[in-house]
Symmetry: D2
Subunit: 333 residues, 4 copies
């Protein structure tokens, strides 16, 4: 075709999607990459562990542990389901906290990344608004803090375009002054699949890396830059127009593959191209026209409220023993 | 293929897109449908007049006059361009007012349709917030109204899911009590092309019809239902995922058509299918999965503010002689 | 003093305050005005019935039934207390519905008066956003509505300055089209006591009258204008600077009255003046300087959310048998 | 009277009010405190220089330079006046910058103090949203920055109750990482006079001190804590109920003083008490009842937008030579 497509890569912040793509590219088994999936009552949990540099390169994600909670029904405003997901999220998040070496007394700083003026990028700031913050009680009246709570602080540092300062620098400054034992970074992500948008929560012990998330991070928010472990929580809220096209072509190919022999006649070479090549081709026509926009479902205002509440509730339950797992949502508004 | 695709139709509220689709389907000339396009400094004006029932059926839009102002650069937050578009919009809108029989004294009711809680559907309510409203001055202190103004009132009636009442019934009730001579209805629309989202303004003298716009209108807001002429202003703010896919395949076909002979080998039958058939096929795979969402660019919060301001400024200039065409934006915030 | 103070009157929309003022003016017993007060766990309920025109004139409120729920602790963000008040409000509101002739099937229109852009005036619109609206289900799919629900619709008609149309005219138009059996009007009120602001709910069967509430109503929303009974719900959210001064002087007088004989030496004639005269004197100095502003507590954003939620929850419980009194808040967000 | 009132002090963050109170207390001339007032077309400028520790103690404000711009007409939504005030503010602010040792190249960090969820406390965050931020351009593409701009960054660090971290610690951390030459701190203030609320801007070279502003600062944001000069910009947006009462009594006394000889008979000892004593007495009755609330005019939403825009426009003009003094408001929205 005369096109060099190798420079293109599918934009996704989810390890589970990166793994899927490798599989579609033929890599059914990758040394140093382990995956385990379970499903219970409409909630899909996938754990991916990347334990070697080779594995990391194969799927384009850093070494570390990733867990994804996918709940396709989450868009349907079912408050019982939301409570169930919050409880489940709390349970898995606690495991990440422990793996990161945190005890019940470890001091936590929650960092809500993103831009509060751009709805699909406002996840982090909305979570920060809704979590229980307790650090000042420990500082100002330590004798009066009930048992079962730990020190939690929370900041929404803004984005480079609003502050003029790298977000990682702001967070570094705050960490040096407030001295948490562990940082939890919450961020909105890009997915390659419209169906995962606002229905999926990813937990990872790898921190936040340059270029990830919706905003344009240029420096990492990681144990290396901050000096304390960083657990990242992300929710895909946007998807590139080009990846919608690409994944639809895949669905078409799967569909025809089942029904007829003449898939090739209908779809030409499209199904036989690698995902990378096909996506490159799609971008080739969309980019020059400025059509490869990041898009979000029209109901984003409601979705982002709902999922931010789930995360805030889950964090409250995971961080404070005194917050009951059974009624986690009562502590947020 | 064994699929009956005839039931599908491309969802667009823009006459210019409906005309394009008919052209792509082979109808280069349609009796009773006249089109005229001009371009000036990056602003594309298209007038479509549908003068026969046959023409209306051919492109699936009601008889009447449609005018589209397309400004691809409108997303770039250029305030000079925004002022230029507001002035141009005011000029063309005045023509529609005159054709609808309005004089300089005609009393106007502006109806901002849509849901203020769903950002891409909030265009109408935001315009209502920003237009100059004068009717109460004429009612309460007629002697003190300066020359050059007319009676303007404005309401945002909400949507069925919030009020429990058909929007058209609410508007009818308000029209009967406040007795305007003409109604201007502002609504957010669906487009079939991501590039038109938030860059295009349509004016039409056909009113608002059931099923149009983002919300689920079930009854019309038209001269028939209200008893006075209705001029509609619409801006596409959303697009179906399926139409993004469809229009990208078209772009691919055009692209390969120019470059090589082997388009068919690469894209199979896709380029040769009608738009209807191809879109039907795409929906066939997306719908059952719930993936054919209405999507909007992630920057929708800013875009909708900008274009609502352009429309409000333009309306102020078109409706009141005393508002200077050269500085229309000064009267809104 | 040479001042004619008779033209001044204490601005209050609460019957309980009007009655208090009459009492302070010496009217301990007023023919045609009955009052009954109870208190339970920090919630004060006062019923005032005005049954004669003479009584109405004596306290400056229309004939009818008024009930006030005062909860001084309501500002403290105690969600248990909020639930208790919502349940209590629901119980008393049901009695008003019944007295107004409503049955379990009566169709209800909730009208949220006020301006959503002015926080202390946004009570009505916020309640409308949060009540359960069901009328469209009855219209569109009557067979599928579960038992225990009635037809409820809800509108926020805006204010004269935004629409250019008298609010009462808009409501009349909507009532004529949607044909409710009864109208519930929710409005923000002015109080004469800062302590009642955001802690008090008044229910009245008298409708909304010109000049009441924060906005500038010029025509009534009453059974006379609408043709169906109107039950009004109001919450004081603002107070005049002058009335703060006046009620503080009263407190001072009470305070010194208990402590010393020389109240007169300290406060001069102030304690002996009628409330009307004293307030007139205060306004005499504040008005010309533009200092007699309507003020609201700085925490108004949170307060108005909380009390709007209580009212919406209470309305849902009072209007639908299927909504359980014990958990009324679950149906609003 | 048996009351010890000495513990009470009038709560004001404005030097001009502190000076007024000292004058009312009889201190017409205070060593080490110089004041100079001018008025031009409805704009009142007052400069107060406190040059000795004795002077500082006499009026209860730190040594330093204070300038107040008072514009009683500012509440009337006059956009010409707003532009004029922005230009005037820019001019005086530049003088403060120069006195603080800043050159045209000095790097500036703007800190918007306060809570964005509490409207009258949201001044700082709103200003931050509206100023031009340029630091990242200098960092990322220094060659492409047009002449006439300097490095400006901006943060809204939140309040203790939301973050759990002292605001001064957050700011220290950010200053250490981003290394500005000077800090501009913007904060909402408390006034003792309702007429100054939302009509007054104070500039001071003293930094922000514990207990000032609406939020509960416990540590300072000053040259001592940050290591760079701090220029503070403040706007009173709230007033205590008690100070409204107190200043009204003063007005009454002034009024009667002019009209009659029998002020004492009417107002008793009130006019003869010191402001401190009188205010103490007022608080004595309001405090136990929880009535001494901080209040704000009901139109606070609009006022705060307007004055934040004036400050953001003025800062843009003062900080960047390339921003024209004549049209400062064009650079904010």
């Amino acid at each position: 075709m005369g096109l060099d497509l190798s420079a293109y890569s599918v934009r996704t912040d989810l390890a589970v999607e990166a793994r899927e793509m490798a599989a579609q590219g033929g890599l059914q088994s990758i040394p140093g990459v382990d995956m385990e999936s379970t499903e219970e009552e409409g909630v899909f949990i996938t754990k991916i562990d990347i334990s070697s540099e080779q594995g990391a390169q194969a799927i384009g994600k850093r070494q570390g542990h990733y867990l994804t909670i996918e709940v396709p029904a989450l868009r349907q405003k079912d408050s019982d389901l939301q409570d169930r997901v919050a409880t489940l999220f709390a349970k898995h998040f606690e495991t990440f906290l422990q793996k990161a070496g945190a005890t019940k007394e470890s001091k936590v700083l929650i960092v809500g990344l993103g831009n509060w003026n751009v709805t699909p990028d406002a996840l982090g700031p909305i979570v920060v608004e809704n979590v229980m913050v307790t650090r000042h009680y420990f500082e100002l009246m330590p004798d009066q803090v009930a048992p079962g709570y730990r020190q939690v602080s929370a900041v929404a540092p803004g984005v480079l375009g609003i502050t003029g300062i790298e977000t990682s620098e702001i967070v570094q400054g705050i960490v040096e002054k407030s001295k948490p034992d562990i940082v939890i970074a919450v961020d909105a992500l890009a997915s390659k699949a419209l169906e995962r948008v606002n229905t999926t929560i990813q937990i990872a012990d790898t921190g936040i890396h340059p270029g990830s998330g919706i905003g344009n991070k240029r420096k990492g928010i990681t144990q290396e830059t901050l000096g304390v472990p960083v657990v990242a929580i992300g929710v895909p809220t946007v998807v590139y127009a080009s990846t919608i096209v690409n994944s639809t072509i895949e669905l078409l190919a799967q569909n025809f593959g089942k029904q007829t022999d003449n898939t090739n006649a209908i779809l030409g070479m499209l199904p036989n191209m690698t995902e990378q090549d096909r996506l490159g081709m799609v971008r080739e026509v969309l980019d020059p026209l400025g059509h490869d926009l990041l898009v979000t479902p029209k109901e984003i205002d409601q979705f982002i409220e709902d999922i931010a509440n789930i995360i805030a509730s889950g964090l409250n339950a995971a961080l404070h023993e005194a917050v009951d797992n059974d009624n986690v949502s009562a502590y947020t508004h």
